[in-house]
Symmetry: C2
Subunit: 574 residues, 2 copies
C-alpha cells in the first residue's frame, strides 16, 4: 500500500481531493472522515430542493450518471474509505494521527496519516440575539436542515416566513418560499442594501425592486434584534428596530464562518479569514493541507485576504491539493468571488471588486455604467442588461464587472468572460478588443462587454464625465435642492412628454438629433444632466456640447434603463 | 474646420470610424462615400430578415433607439456627410483626393482628403460554373438581394431551394427557408463537412445531423457543377457530381473575397487576404487607413494572415482607425475568429484554432473532447454540451475551443470566456482555474470549461489516452476490421443491454462501479475502447486499469453524448 492520506470533511473539497488523489496515486490509502451521515452533496442546490425544483434530496447527492455518492459508492467506484458520523477530536501532529470519535457508538480511536487534508468547511454564523436558538429557526448549513425546512413547508402550515440576511442564500430561500410555496416572505438585512459587499448599491436596488415586484417584502438597513416564541416555544415573531414581523418559520442566513477550530487547536496558523495556507494550499505544517470554505484566500485583484465560501472554489482547491499530494506542483492563484444568482425572472452577477470595495482597497477606482442590449436589438428576445465595469484610473486595469438581466445566461456570459480577463490583469483595452462571438441571436456586433469597456475608456480619458447615480437619485428626491441643475432629456419627444409634465421646469427636452441644430437654445448658467435610454447618446451629446463651449454637463450612465429599474415608481407610466 | 477625413464604405467599419472620429475630433470634416443607396445596416441580420424574425428591412438599419441610419440621420445626429450612390473610381494619392462618380447623374468629381479610410468590405465569391449568373441565383451580399429573396418567398411560389455552400451564411439561410417558410431546402457543400475550417468534422457532423432532423437535406463532399435554366431563363436545377436538384431558387453562399481592387489600383500593398495594414491599421500609405472585411488580419493564435469578414471585427477595427486618426495610439492585436451560430434548436460556436487548423499551423496539437453539463445536473433545463479544447502539447497553451449545445447562451458563455483567455495566451492551467461564476441554474461547480481543461491536463500529462473519434467511427462501420478491439461499456447494465444485443461479441459490459471488483474478468489480449456517457468515468476506469497492469485501453472522449449526436441511427433506441 502507498501513502496514508486522511481527509477531514466530506462535502465538496474533501471528496474532490480524495478522488483526484486516488486517480493520481492508485496505491494511496485514502480515508475521508465526516461527522455527518450525509456527504458529498451539492449544498448550493439546497434552495432549489426547498423550492421543489429538485424533487428529492437524494438528487443533490447523485452524480450526473445517477449514482448516489454514499460510503458504498466511494468504496466501490472510487476505492476510497469514508467514515461518516465520525467526529475529529484532535490532530496529533507529532504522532501524525487523527483522534476521532464514532458518533454512533461513542468509541474513540486514532487514524494515522502520512498526509492530512483539512476540508472542514464553514459553519453558519448565528446572530447573537435573543431567540436565535428557538425551534422554528433554521440555518442553511446542511442537508438535514434543508430536509426539515421542506418537511415544514409540506405540512401546509407555513403561511409566512422571515429570512434574516439579504445575501445570496437568504435571497434564494426567499424566492423558494415565495415562488413555489406561495409563502408570504420578508427579508430583513442589517446593511442598507441586499448582497452587501458583493454588489454595488445601484445594482442591488434593481434586484430588490424586482423581488418586491414578485411579492417579497424587503427591509434593508434593519437588523433583527430578537426572535420571540409562541406558547409552544416556537419562533413566531422577528423584531427589528422598526417593526415586528409575525412568522411561521425563520431562516437565519447571516453568513458563514470558516470552521477552523480543529486546525487552530492543533497549533496551525489560523487567521480570522480561515486556515492560513501557501499557494500550494499547504498549512503551516507541511504534512497538512487545507481546502474549501475553511481556508483563507487571497483576492486576485486586491491582494487582500478574505473568506470565499463557494462550492466552485472548493472543487478547484481540492484538485490542487490532490496534485500537490501526488508531487505535481500545482499552485492556487487566489480567487475573486465570481458570482451569479437567479432571482425569479432576473439574474444578477459580479466578478472582481465592486466600486466600493475597489475604493476601500485603495484603487483610484471609477465605474462605467451602461445598459447595452444582450443581443441584436432587432432580435425578438433582446433585453437590456445594465452592466458596470469598475476600473482603476491610474493603470486602466479592469477591477470588476457587475450585471443585471433577464433569467438566462446573458449576464453569466459577460461575467465569465470578464473573470477570465481580470485573472490575467486585463485592462480597459483588453476588454474593448476581447473577441466575443457574434451572431444576432446571441450578441451585438460590439458585445455588451466591449461597449462597457469603451465607456470606461472614454471616462478614463476624461472624454466622458458622469454623474454618480446616488447623486442623481438624491437630486430627484429633492429637485429644489440644486436649483442650478436641469435634466436634459434627449430622447424622442414622445418619450419625454410625460416627464416634462411631471417634473416641470427641472426637465428640459431636446431630441438627440436636434442638438447640433438647436444647442444655442440651451441654458449656459445651469448644470445639465444629460439623460437618454442607455447613456450612449448622452455621451455623444456631451462631446458635441463641449465642442461648442457648453461644458457644464454630466452624463447619467446607463440612462433610464438603469434608473427606472431602481425607482420604477418615480417615473411617468409608459 | 479641421482635417478632411474621407471614408470609402458605409456599412460597418466605415460608419464606425466616421462616428468615433467625429466624437474625438468635433472639428473634423468627415465624408462617407458608398456606391449603394442603403448604408449602415446589420448585414449579419439578413438571414433573420429573410426568415421573418425581423419583419422589415428597415429594422436592420435602425439604431437601438429606433432611428433609421440614413444620410439625414448621419448629418443631423452625427455631423457626418454621407454620399450614397457614389462610386469611387480611383485614389489619387499624390493629389490626396478621391475620384468619384455620382451613379444617379453619371457626373464625376473629386473629393480631397487629408486622411483616407478604405472600408470597402468584401464581395461574394461566385462559383465559376455554368449558370451562376442566371436569374433566380442570389448571393447574400447586400440588403437589396435580401429584399429580393424575401419578395420571392412572399409570392408563395418558392417550394424548393438549393443553398450552395455550407458555411455560416448558407446554413442560416437554409434554416430561414425551412423553418419559417416551409421550403424544401437542400445544402450542397464541396468540402466533406459543414463549416469547413471553422469547426472540426466531429462537431460539424453533430450540427449536420440536427439540421437533417429539422428537415434540411445536406450533401457534403459534393460541389455544384452547373446551374440549369428553365424555359424562361430562370434557374431551376442545380447539378452536382452525384445528383440533380430541382429548385425554385438558388442561394450562392460560397464565401467572400476582400474588396481590395481600389487599394490595389492605387498602388497600396495588397495580399490575397486583403489590404495589408500595420497594427494601427495604416496601409502602406501613412495617410490611408483600412478596416473591415477588406483588410488582411493576423491570427492571434497561429500568427498567420487571413481574411476575417465579421461584423464584430469591423466595428472594433473602425474604432481603432478613428483613434489613430485622432492621434490616440490604439493598436489592433489581430483576431481569432470567435464564432457562434444558431441552427434551429441548437447553437454551435468556436474560437481560436480547430484541431485541424492547429496541426496545419505546426502546433503539436491535441483535443480534449468532453460532454459536460451546462448547469447543475439536478436543475430542470440542464443539457449536455459537447465541448472541445484544442491545446499544444509542448507549451500547454490552449489554442481553441468548440462547443455544441441547445439554443441558448450556454455555448456562447464558454466560447467567450475561452476567447478572453486565449487572447492572453491562456494555458491549460489558466482554463482549469478560470473562476467561472457558479450557481446551479447557470453552471456546474467546476464549469464545463474548467472540466475540459482538466481533461486536457490529463491528456497532456499522458494520464489519459484517447481514441480519436474518426477512428472510433471507422471501427464501428466495420467491426470485423479490427478484431483485436472491443468496446468496454461501463454504463449501467440497463443502458448497455441493447448495445450488447446489437453489437454482440464486440461489446463488453462492466459497470463503472464494478471495475475495481471484477477487472480480472477483462481480456488482456484486446484493446479495450472504454465508453461511458461523457468520458469522465472512462478516464477513471483507464487510470485504475493501468494501476492493475491492464494498459491496452483507450478512452472515447465525450462518450455517448458525442457519438450519438453524430450517428444517431447507429445506436439502439433508448
Amino acid at each position: 500500500m502507498g501513502e496514508k492520506i486522511v481527509i477531514v470533511g466530506g462535502v465538496a473539497a474533501g471528496p474532490k481531493t480524495a478522488c483526484r488523489a486516488k486517480r493520481l496515486m492508485p496505491d494511496a490509502e485514502i480515508t475521508v472522515v465526516d461527522q455527518d451521515s450525509l456527504i458529498s452533496y451539492g449544498g448550493c442546490g439546497i434552495p432549489y430542493y426547498v423550492s421543489g425544483d429538485v424533487a428529492d434530496e437524494d438528487e443533490l447527492r447523485k452524480t450526473s450518471f445517477h449514482m448516489t455518492r454514499n460510503e458504498d459508492f466511494f468504496l466501490r467506484a472510487k476505492g476510497i474509505q469514508v467514515r461518516t458520523l465520525t467526529r475529529c477530536l484532535a490532530i496529533d501532529r507529532k504522532a501524525k494521527c487523527l483522534e476521532v470519535e464514532d458518533l454512533k457508538s461513542g468509541t474513540k480511536d486514532t487514524i494515522p496519516y502520512d498526509k492530512l487534508v483539512i476540508a472542514t468547511g464553514s459553519q453558519p454564523f448565528v446572530l447573537p440575539i435573543p431567540g436565535a436558538e428557538l425551534e422554528g429557526v433554521y440555518t442553511i448549513s446542511d442537508l438535514h436542515k434543508a430536509i426539515a425546512i421542506k418537511q415544514q413547508l409540506a405540512t401546509g402550515k407555513i403561511g409566512r416566513a422571515v429570512v434574516i440576511g439579504g445575501g445570496a442564500i437568504g435571497l434564494e430561500m426567499a424566492e423558494a418560499f415565495t415562488d413555489l410555496w406561495g409563502v408570504e416572505t420578508s427579508v430583513v438585512e442589517f446593511m442598507p442594501q441586499l448582497l452587501p459587499r458583493i454588489i454595488d448599491p445601484w445594482f442591488s436596488t434593481m434586484l430588490q425592486r424586482h423581488m418586491e415586484a414578485m411579492g417579497v417584502h424587503i427591509h434593508t438597513g434593519e437588523g433583527a434584534s430578537e426572535i420571540i416564541a409562541d406558547d409552544n416555544g416556537r419562533a413566531c415573531k422577528v423584531v427589528t428596530p422598526h417593526r415586528t414581523l409575525e412568522t411561521d418559520i425563520v431562516i437565519m442566513a447571516t453568513g458563514v464562518r470558516p470552521r477552523s477550530q480543529l486546525a487552530h487547536d492543533a497549533g496551525l496558523l489560523v487567521s480570522p479569514f480561515g486556515i492560513v495556507v501557501n499557494n500550494r494550499l499547504q498549512t503551516s505544517d507541511p504534512n497538512i493541507y487545507a481546502a474549501g470554505d475553511c481556508i483563507e484566500v487571497t483576492h486576485m485583484v486586491s491582494g487582500q485576504k478574505f473568506t470565499a465560501p463557494l462550492g466552485s472554489l472548493a472543487n478547484r482547491e481540492g484538485r490542487i491539493v490532490a496534485d500537490n499530494l501526488a508531487g505535481i506542483p500545482s499552485t492556487y492563484p487566489g480567487a475573486m468571488g465570481s458570482f451569479i444568482m437567479k432571482a425569479f425572472e432576473r439574474s444578477i452577477g459580479a466578478t472582481g471588486l465592486s466600486l466600493e470595495s475597489a475604493r476601500a482597497a485603495g484603487f483610484d477606482a471609477d465605474a462605467a455604467i451602461t445598459a447595452p442590449s444582450d443581443r441584436a436589438h432587432f432580435f425578438p428576445n433582446e433585453a437590456k442588461i445594465p452592466l458596470q465595469m469598475v476600473f482603476d484610473r491610474r493603470s486602466r486595469r479592469v477591477l470588476g464587472v457587475q450585471g443585471f438581466g433577464p433569467m438566462n445566461d446573458a449576464v453569466l456570459t459577460r461575467i465569465d468572460a470578464a473573470a477570465a480577463l481580470i485573472a490575467k490583469n486585463g485592462t480597459i483595452d483588453d476588454f474593448s478588443l476581447c473577441e466575443m462571438a457574434y451572431a444576432p441571436p446571441f450578441a451585438t456586433a460590439l458585445d455588451a462587454l466591449n461597449s462597457a469597456a469603451n465607456v470606461a475608456d472614454n471616462m478614463q480619458m476624461n472624454r466622458q464625465r458622469n454623474l454618480a447615480i446616488p447623486d442623481f437619485l438624491a437630486w430627484m428626491n429633492d429637485l429644489s435642492g440644486r436649483p442650478d441643475w436641469l435634466a436634459l432629456d434627449i430622447r424622442h419627444p414622445a418619450e419625454t412628454k410625460a416627464f416634462k409634465e411631471k417634473f416641470g421646469a427641472a426637465w428640459l427636452e431636446l431630441a438627440y438629433d436636434q442638438v447640433r441644430a438647436n444647442h444655442q437654445d440651451l441654458p449656459r448658467d445651469k448644470t445639465l444632466i444629460i439623460i437618454c435610454d442607455a447613456g450612449t447618446r448622452s455621451y455623444e451629446t456631451q462631446v458635441f456640447l463641449d465642442s461648442v463651449g457648453l461644458t457644464n454637463t454630466l452624463v447619467l450612465g446607463g440612462g433610464f434603463n438603469v434608473i427606472t429599474r431602481m425607482e420604477p415608481s418615480w417615473w411617468p407610466a409608459k
